[in-house]
């Protein structure tokens, strides 16, 4: 097979994987929320049994529900697509139409530089399982991820609604204050590994084995990154742009149907992207203990198993972050706006600066 055809593999993995997992995340979010609040959560639309998609198609599947609730996102998706797409008369029409795409696209693009699995050996050449192995590395992620603030801000402004506008403005202000902390936390990581390319960073972590994982070398950056990732994704405790308690729905107040669905989807994809970045920089990327032994094997089959396990390992780490952010969401209340700014400028930025100095002192070669 031609080498450029192999290039399709990571593209399909990332695109299919990310898109396919979003409905599962919606289900998990609702279920975790319910369990933390001592409720049952979605438990009707299952794979088999009453209310299941098969049953609706007319295939009898028995009385007992199997994995009830798991198919709920499918029902939600059909509902979202089938609903009337209302464009209020007072909106800036083009930007209003455009904003959801801008919220959905950047997280997808950002995922392009994250290696999702161990490199494949093709014709004696190593091919990393990454969509685009670009030299600017995670700077690409920072650049593209900040574009998603445009989606939120444009959506808020184009809605011509005071709540939506406030949400949009909050998003931009929040993005500025937290992106600096995020960038500085990553700067220390770049200093540690002497590289900004995720593929190289993962390689160095793999060479160091389990204890080579970034979290053991940059614990402070790990902590700061985690906090800033929440703010970057507009997740609780930093979901001020949305803030349903005081801003109705924030920037997506005026959106309906699948346009709202796209904002929604964008939020979950952004979570996955941040989880992927966190795993790549701090948790050894696709690395798992025992990879060295498996990949050293002569058997081609074992090597393929090693690659598949690396995909699983990366998936578990990414999902771990996503589940953690759901857990945090249903634990912590929302920050007040001034508290959020205080935390960003007066705590995160100084601590990140301190971390940079510390890293510089500890890494004199």
């Amino acid at each position: 097979m031609a080498p450029y055809l192999w290039k399709l593999l990571p593209i399909l993995l990332v695109f299919g994987g990310v898109l396919g997992i979003v409905p599962l995340l919606v289900f998990l979010e609702r279920k975790i929320c319910a369990l933390i609040q001592d409720r049952l959560g979605p438990n009707r639309v299952g794979i088999l049994g009453p209310d299941s998609p098969l049953e609706i198609l007319g295939i009898k599947t028995g009385e007992k529900r199997f994995l009830g609730g798991l198919m709920q996102p499918l029902a939600d998706a059909i509902k979202l697509i089938a609903k009337e797409d209302i464009i209020p008369p007072h909106v800036e029409k083009y930007l209003f139409e455009f904003a959801p795409f801008f919220a959905l696209l950047p997280p997808f693009l950002a995922f392009a530089v994250i290696p999702v699995g161990a490199p494949l050996m093709i014709d004696g050449k190593e091919m990393p399982l990454v969509v685009a192995d670009v030299g600017v590395g995670f700077l690409w992620i920072l650049a593209v991820a900040s574009l998603s603030a445009y989606g939120v801000a444009l959506g808020g402004w184009a809605s011509n609604n005071k709540y939506a506008l406030l949400g949009g403005i909050r998003a931009t202000a929040q993005m500025i204050s937290y992106e600096i902390g995020l960038g500085m936390a990553l700067l220390a990581v770049a200093m540690q590994y002497q590289s900004v390319e995720p593929v190289q960073i993962v390689k160095q972590q793999v060479e160091g084995g389990f204890l080579g994982w970034g979290v053991f070398h940059q614990p402070l950056a790990f902590l700061l990154f985690t906090i800033c990732a929440f703010a970057e994704n507009n997740r609780l405790p930093f979901d001020l742009p949305e803030c349903e308690a005081e801003l109705v729905g924030g920037y997506h107040t005026e959106y309906s149907s699948m346009k709202f669905g796209m904002f929604f989807q964008g939020e979950y994809i952004a979570m996955l992207t941040m989880g992927g970045l966190l795993a790549t920089l701090f948790l050894g990327g696709w690395h798992y203990p025992g990879y060295a032994a498996l990949s050293a094997s002569d058997s081609g089959f074992v090597q393929i198993v090693a690659v598949v396990l690396s995909l699983v390992s990366f998936g578990i780490k990414t999902m771990g972050f996503v589940l953690f952010s759901m857990w945090v969401r249903w634990t912590l209340p929302r920050f007040r706006y001034d508290q959020l700014m205080n935390l960003g400028w007066k705590v995160i930025v100084p601590v990140a600066l301190f971390n940079i100095v510390l890293t510089a002192m500890l890494n004199i070669h």
């Binding site: 001592d38 409720r39 049952l40 857990w327 508290q339």
Partner: protein, 214 residues
């Protein structure tokens, strides 16, 4: 965030609108105390909170898997206390006739005016009364479930059951006619009740079934 008050007073210490310091010995509501430096770090407190919510993942849920079929399980199907005022039903006498004598007492007592009765002279073979309801309708959409009809009835013909899940997909279906009301009583197995008064005031047959129970 625990102790937001303490954080405020710290944050605005320089401004004119600063919160006054908490006087010595003042009563402090729990959680409204000055934060210690460990609490100001947030992270240990966040960990505590996360630990708390994590245990809830394994708690018994307060809500139940209600699908309306498991009527025997009190955890799966709410059984109201006796005397709960739910869906109405009409009772029958031993002859199998509707007990109602079409006296209009319930319709007069009804504050929502949801009972509509048309009276008719009884057939020749009914010995015990003069009139019976040709039409007896209760509009459950108007009904406020106050139970006044049950109290007003001199022959104990109408009663409220404990059935609370009264649903319909059309408005018309929520207007119960005489047959429907009689049928509901039969379905519930309580069409005859212990206080079975004849129009002449003599207590009659007392069946075993308890009123209002499932």
């Amino acid at each position: 965030m625990a102790g937001g008050h303490g954080h405020d007073s710290h944050g605005h210490a320089e401004t004119a609108t600063a919160t006054p310091p908490i006087p010595e010995g003042a009563f402090l509501a729990p959680g409204n105390t000055e934060m210690t430096w460990v609490e100001k770090l947030y992270l240990p407190e966040i960990m505590k909170g996360l630990g708390n919510t994590f245990t809830h993942l394994f708690h018994k849920t307060f809500t139940v898997d209600y699908d309306g079929t498991q009527r025997d399980d009190p955890r799966k199907f709410h059984i109201p206390r006796e005397g709960y005022r739910g869906e109405h039903y009409l009772k029958k006498d031993e002859a199998g006739h509707v007990k109602c004598v079409a006296c209009f007492m319930c319709a007069a007592a009804c504050p929502a005016e949801c009972i509509h009765i048309e009276a008719e002279a009884v057939p020749a073979d009914w010995q015990d009364r003069e009139r019976y309801p040709k039409r007896f309708e209760i509009d459950l959409l108007r009904c406020i479930y106050c139970g006044m009809c049950e109290e007003a009835c001199p022959v104990d013909a109408i009663a409220l059951s404990t059935t609370y899940n009264v649903v319909a997909d059309q408005r018309e279906a929520k207007v119960y006619n005489r047959e429907k009301l009689l049928h509901r009583g039969e379905e519930l197995g309580i069409s005859l009740t212990k206080h079975h008064y004849r129009p002449d005031g003599i207590p009659g047959h007392v069946p075993e079934k308890k009123a209002g129970g499932h």
